[in-house]
Symmetry: C2
Subunit: 151 residues, 2 copies
């Protein structure tokens, strides 16, 4: 499959939100109507303004087909290691099962390494068994419990 990976631009936002919503968990918590809800535009602008954020997409002839947000987190633990937090990892339904997710993650890890990160981390809902096997196949260790709380 012919996919190019690059930083997201404003015009990718509808395709990105559609990917977030086209998901068993995302369907219940995202709003992908047209025109796009303004909170997504504000969030995109906040990501763009922050030099420690990289929002990367995969792209084919039909537009953005995969997405991953990388947050660089400077920190003291682990001898002052910078972490790369990966969030919002999705592949469009039309492209699943074709290796796009693996290439997306490898691209994201290259971006993280090039930015000086020493460790990559992500959390995945307990219900996403297929995703867990995917991350382990790429070398991620399920070493931690991920806790969340609404504020």
């Amino acid at each position: 499959m012919d996919v190019r990976f690059r930083d997201a631009v404003r015009g990718d936002l509808p395709a990105i939100v559609a990917m977030l919503a086209d998901d068993p968990l995302g369907a219940a918590r995202e709003s992908s109507q047209d025109p796009l809800a303004s909170h997504y535009v504000r969030a995109f602008e906040a990501i763009e303004r922050d030099p420690n954020q990289r929002l990367v997409v995969g792209e084919d002839a039909q537009g953005a087909n995969a997405v991953c947000q990388i947050t660089l987190v400077p920190g003291l633990s682990r001898n002052g290691a910078t972490r790369a937090l990966l969030e919002s990892i999705r592949v469009a339904g039309r492209c699943r099962g074709q290796g796009v997710g693996e290439r997306l993650l490898r691209h994201a890890m290259d971006v993280a390494r090039a930015s000086g990160a020493g460790i990559a981390q992500l959390t995945s809902d307990r219900s996403r068994g297929d995703a867990h096997r995917f991350y382990q196949r790429l070398g991620f260790e399920p070493s931690h419990v991920g806790f969340k709380m609404q504020l």
Copy 2:
């Protein structure tokens, strides 16, 4: 116990690194010699420079006795919610079992809310059973698997 919570300053760094090292997992991966390794100073400066980082400490008459790093992560998922990632949560050995950790976390969540975060998240090594019970008691849900990979 009389503890005050505030943002960390450069002078807290030796006490913070000592807390990171005084831990079953941290002992093997931190270097708390005096003078402090320069990578910790560089990491502290990177945290200070980044407006989306807050490094908070608890303090008593003997100095910093608790630490927590809060990273604000703007994001598209969950209707453009800002996340507060909590890392490097520690209480000094001399203060454990006295409610300092709970007050630290409640302070961190207040900081996160005041900064516009809609969700707080953290990961905890699978071996830290006591910590897991502590986080659940505060209202965190162990809803996710936490994956990590060295880069």
